[in-house]
Symmetry: C2
Subunit: 762 residues, 2 copies
């Protein structure tokens, strides 16, 4: 009977499929990638000892100590923490030191948001202490609510609501006939990085920007608010940097380390300070402002969770916004701890920042606490006799919150050494409960997937790989995506944009990078608030620190595996696949734009916009758009073909070696191959950088100038396309293709060298 | 250059396309469907006089009079209105009378909603008078807020929030591990007909049901609330019937007219009274109840616009719900007005109800006022010498709000005459601003599209057809839909479900039906509230009654064109296309369910639900589902092939006649063809009715038993599929196929007879 047949075949298929990703006893993990058989078993024993040695309560105690007081850049407790971290690394047996840089870090002097018309209201701009929460009353040490690197200003103007304040939101405003010229905009947090909001507002003529946390995105709409639940309360405010996206790091020293004697720009010449003043506010402060707006009711997607009708304005709400800062230089303290390998020529780098906006239990201490527990256990194994092949460098970064200051200045100061020695950088930051993700460069995709198969998820007891893999199947948009996922044996490593300390490693120094974290089972967020503290974290997030343990196990084991492998455990096929996908996306983007504009122009001709216009709520027709011309992607496609061939070649030889049982390879050959492998990620760089952002050297991986957090793979081409500069985009294709060809050639050399080594063993 | 070429070709294409639907001077309207050339021009002259004669201010004055006081079924002002309408029809020259039926109509005696735990709160259950609104203070005549045909009850139980209270919402509750057994459910209005909410709640073991208007669906989320704006205020309540879906009309007389001497069921045997007590409340009354719920936070799609975290429950909120009614018999007064044609053998029927829940300016007086203006102008033309061929019957229905009482009882009482004489029924109800829609049976699609091309939209000055057509292009989901629309010269007539007085005509008597209205440019709604009154309507809806005029022009002209045509102006090809689409939908539904259940079972096997389960917010896996077997749609497909052939045949002969210049056809032939055409819609009936709802005779068009308003074409098959009763669904296919074959044969005869008539003229 048909029915039974379908049902049974579904079961069979599922058994086949569920057998694929497995829990630690598959051939992939029984023969570690890049390891000779001899070293593989020994490595696994050390790794098991490592995993078993990670203690959740240690992570808890690290967090308790580090988040006990506010510790922003330049604060007394930040220095105290740096010294404590230093002492810990030393205690664990690392060769540790503090590297100091001097950076521009503005702190608030004056902050005013007040409604002048049609009624009066003065915003509190203050998060109150809560009786339940023992560190929320440390007002004397708390940085006030503000957006760092806002220019000073004192303005009065009508208010306009701009949704998330992205570029497409201003297209909607145009159609509503609303201009922000001379206005103060109010944008809600979310929908991209906060620094984009004043940037785009300024580009459209606004003279000030207020950002608030809407309860729909970040409050009671999602769950009970703090302290009944974990979600942001009515007076909670998200602090944060609004530094522009030209380059990260100290605004005064782009491209060089901000050492004491570094040559500095004048503040007025620093491109990354905003053009208009910005302040963040709570939704309790935002409600009177938003309620005082008239004009068109906002489009449905723009509506938040406040019990009001959201209007666009402009006015009658008239707002006074005043911001001024102490534009001081502050020291930052990077703690750099080295565990020397038997060969100091190759480095594995691991980092997490430790500065926070206030107490920062989640951001960043949840990650920093796990990092320290990793370091403790590596030290412990070292004492037990484990000796890494490669040198391991643990970094506790200062100054991430203002703009990745600690990591960027350190990478800029050490870029030559790093390029010469670093085989990979693994980053973490905030850590929560749920599913593992590992994003970055896909040459590490097979490697990190194998690692994730060896870590147990604390809630489900399946591997963290398996849990994440099945979650992706659950979230897949359609049958095609599910089919693709079911054919996979690895995690999909997505491209990184910006938002933590990996940026300089990947985008500036061309180092293979991963950012690893657990998350997606939120009980709320107090992101960049005084309430992101130990009390909140231990009541609403990873309360028993088992996900802290999982993070330490995943990354620490990853560091060990990178450090000890005979061959750097890299496989290029997933990266070739990813780059090929990025190219396909570019072609699709062009096609979509051609279709969109042709359709729009047709509708303009047909009178569709005239027909759908409601005279009581008029919407202007969009402008006619020139349909984009065809572009020549052939150079990239040809280069990608070469990349695929060389990657497949390398993968094939690697498999051959494994099929042979991974016998030890001749040492001098291994040295040559590892030198090849070390060099490949550097080939992604083009020293001219991206056409509009020369600091960003990587031609494949980059954040978007108008997304901030979001990645824009192949940004040189894609961002011109976003700007509808088709000719300029077209001109970038051959340059990107050249980079891909260089990478393909680098991989090809590695494959040839490996083939020769493996051949010798037959 | 490519770019220019694409752009130019878009313009050319658009010019071609925009030339298709045009503004009154196309061949279609220059030679009216079903008209000889001789009659066509004369008809157009009369129609123009009709259109020009419709006066918005008359519609305003009709509304002022009819909505001046509350006029629900059985109220003094309802009788007064009936008599006034009667006098108007007589004044216009119609042969008018009142037909009275006696129906069960419960009105509230006791109503209590109170929160007992964890805090106390007594719901107001009262819409307050507003100083601005001069009729909102007629409390003595206003029906209290209630749901008619709720069973009496007095219960106390924990509360559970069930979203819209549809069947799929209970599947979600199952996965949250929440049962409503023994509970009172609180559902928000929307997502389907209100009567479904207590029905489904009762089926799941709930003992009471509260329905409230959430501001997200119906309040400040959408725009300012009344009286600042048009949207429902915090204490506004939607009254309404919750009669079960077994059959419409008087609960005591299914299938027969509720005349004085009709045989009646005992109230306890009436299947359409709810099984559990129900009351509607405002969101001001709902807020304390919803705020008192704990348990899981609701799924994102379930969240409304109140400034709270929505929880599912059950409890700790404990609620007391008490409802009792006066179960009285009430008279209803249908006003039936006839304008005799030169041939009384064929009737064109037009209706709109005039009863309301309270003052009902929008629902239904906006439609009723336009209907009366149509009748005035038809009378005026009649005095000027226009004499319709067919008899025109204008109906002002009483008792629509409780359950289509007036129209259903009248149709049941007159079903034999109607089947013998009625060629079409055109309904309207509430009328607002915006886009015309005409839904019903697609044999009238070409006809009503032609009519809509001859009516000017008051806002855009394009034809109402063109505006609606372009709006559909704007709203189309994808390029394929847009392409299909651009290839069309007609409006798409969608299938009707339930919700106004067309039901008995289409579903019980097998009469070709249209429901015509303007809408979709809402400035709010006060649906079934005391605020749906003249003040509100004239401030926030069709303030200058130009859409009342457009409605009267469209329908009145449609009535004239139906009445005067030589051949009943029907074309079957759009109907064959629609029925074919319904069959395709059934196949797709089956395929989708097969895929869905196979995927679900596979995910159960893979452990996807285990992987995605958050132990702090546990979600149970869904049950394994047997994958549906294949069904045999061949009989329907074969029948539809016959239907398409016969329809194409009829359309072709019709075109041939038109190509000949539409010479007059021999009268005796015309009589035979019209008799054929009159009979065809009756062939959709199967006297056994739908398998689970025997009152519904139409085998293609029906409302859903679990949608109410929503249509379920081919319900006999589709509803069994919805119930996962695949075998029963399969068994219905041949019966539906037989009906389609009968229709095909009927059309085939008409085509042959027309061919013979047209052939004679050559």
């Amino acid at each position: 009977m048909r029915l039974r047949w379908i049902f049974c075949s579904a079961i069979l298929l599922s058994q086949l499929l569920s057998a694929q990703p497995d829990e630690g006893n598959n051939p992939a993990s029984s023969q570690l990638l890049g390891y000779s058989s001899q070293n593989s078993q020994q490595q696994k024993d050390w790794e098991k000892r490592f995993r078993d040695g990670i203690v959740p309560d240690n992570i808890r105690e690290n967090m308790r100590r580090l988040s006990a007081r506010p510790h922003n850049v330049g604060s007394p407790y930040e220095k105290d923490n740096a010294e404590w971290i230093l002492s810990k690394f030393k205690e664990y047996g690392f060769d540790a030191r503090i590297e100091t840089f001097s950076v521009l870090f503005p702190t608030p002097k004056e902050r005013v948001v007040e409604l002048l018309e049609p009624t009066k209201f003065v915003a509190k701009l203050q998060e109150p202490a809560l009786p339940d929460d023992p560190t929320s009353n440390q007002a004397a040490e708390q940085l006030p609510t503000y957006n760092a690197y806002s220019i000073d200003g004192d303005i009065t103007a009508p208010l306009v609501y701009v949704n998330y304040g992205n570029r497409e939101d201003y297209d909607r405003l145009d159609r509503l006939g609303v201009s922000v010229k001379g206005a103060i905009v109010i944008a809600r947090y979310g929908g991209g990085w906060r620094g984009i909001k004043p940037k785009v507002a300024g580009e459209h003529g606004a003279i000030g920007c207020i950002i608030y946390s809407d309860p729909k995105d970040d409050g009671y709409y999602n769950g009970e608010d703090y302290p009944s639940g974990g979600w942001r309360p009515r007076l909670g405010v998200q602090r944060g940097s609004v530094m522009d996206t030209d380059y990260p790091g100290d605004p005064l020293t782009p491209g060089i380390g901000a050492t004491a004697d570094a040559k500095r720009l004048a503040i007025k010449d620093a491109k990354t300070i905003t053009k208009i003043p910005v302040l963040p506010i709570s939704y309790a402060d935002a409600t009177p402002l938003l309620s005082a707006l008239k004009g068109a009711v906002v489009p449905e997607e723009w509506r938040g969770g406040l019990p009001i009708t959201y209007h666009v304005g402009p006015g009658p709400a008239k707002v006074h916004l005043k911001v001024s800062s102490n534009w001081d230089m502050k020291p930052i303290y990077d703690v750099i701890a080295t565990l020397h390998g038997s060969d100091d020529g190759q480095w594995v780098v691991r980092g997490n920042h430790f500065d926070a906006w206030v107490n920062g239990a989640d951001d960043p201490i949840s990650g920093q606490s796990a990092l320290l527990e990793e370091a403790r256990m590596l030290g412990e194994l070292h004492r037990q006799g484990w000796k890494p092949k490669r040198t391991i460098i643990y970094c506790a970064w200062d100054g991430e919150e203002p703009g990745l200051l600690g990591s960027v200045e350190w990478v800029e100061a050490h870029v030559d050494e790093l390029k010469k020695h670093a085989i990979a950088y693994i980053n973490s930051d905030s850590n929560e409960r749920g599913f593992v993700s590992a994003d970055g460069t896909q040459d590490l995709q097979s490697f990190i997937s194998d690692v994730a198969k060896d870590v147990q998820d604390p809630e489900t007891k399946m591997s963290v790989f398996q849990r994440s893999h099945l979650n992706k199947i659950a979230k897949a948009k359609n049958a095609e995506e599910r089919k693709d996922l079911r054919g996979r044996k690895d995690l999909v490593v997505e491209a990184l944009g910006d938002g933590s300390d990996f940026t300089a490693f990947q985008d500036y120094a061309g180092i293979s990078t991963l950012n690893v974290e657990f998350g997606d089972e939120d009980d709320g967020t107090q992101y960049h608030s005084i309430y992101d503290d130990f009390y909140w974290y231990t009541h609403f997030v990873d309360t028993d620190f088992v996900y802290g343990r999982a993070l330490a196990q995943t990354i620490g084991m990853g560091i060990m595996r990178l450090a000890d492998a005979d061959l750097i455990p890299i496989d290029y096929s997933p990266q070739a696949e990813a780059i090929s996908k990025y190219e396909t996306e570019l072609e699709k983007l062009l096609k979509d734009k051609q279709d969109e504009f042709a359709e729009r122009n047709l509708e303009l001709q047909e009178g569709v916009f005239k027909a759908t216009n409601d005279p009581r709520r008029p919407i202007l027709p969009p402008p006619t758009e020139a349909v984009p011309p065809y572009m020549n992607f052939a150079p990239m496609k040809n280069a990608i073909d070469l990349l695929k061939k060389s990657s497949e070649h390398y993968s094939k030889v690697l498999s051959k070696w494994r099929e042979q049982g991974s016998p030890a390879l001749p040492a001098e050959k291994v040295g040559v191959i590892n030198a090849d492998l070390l060099r490949v990620p550097r080939l992604f760089l083009n020293e001219k950088g991206l056409p509009e952002r020369p600091w960003f050297k990587n031609q494949i991986y980059a954040p978007g100038a108008y997304t901030g957090y979001g990645a824009k793979p192949v940004a040189a081409v894609r961002e011109y396309m976003d700007e509808k500069k088709w000719k300029e985009a077209d001109a970038q294709v051959p340059q990107v293709a050249q980079v891909i060809e260089n990478v393909a050639a680098g991989i090809s050399k590695a494959a040839d060298d490996l083939e020769s080594a493996v051949g010798q063993k037959q």
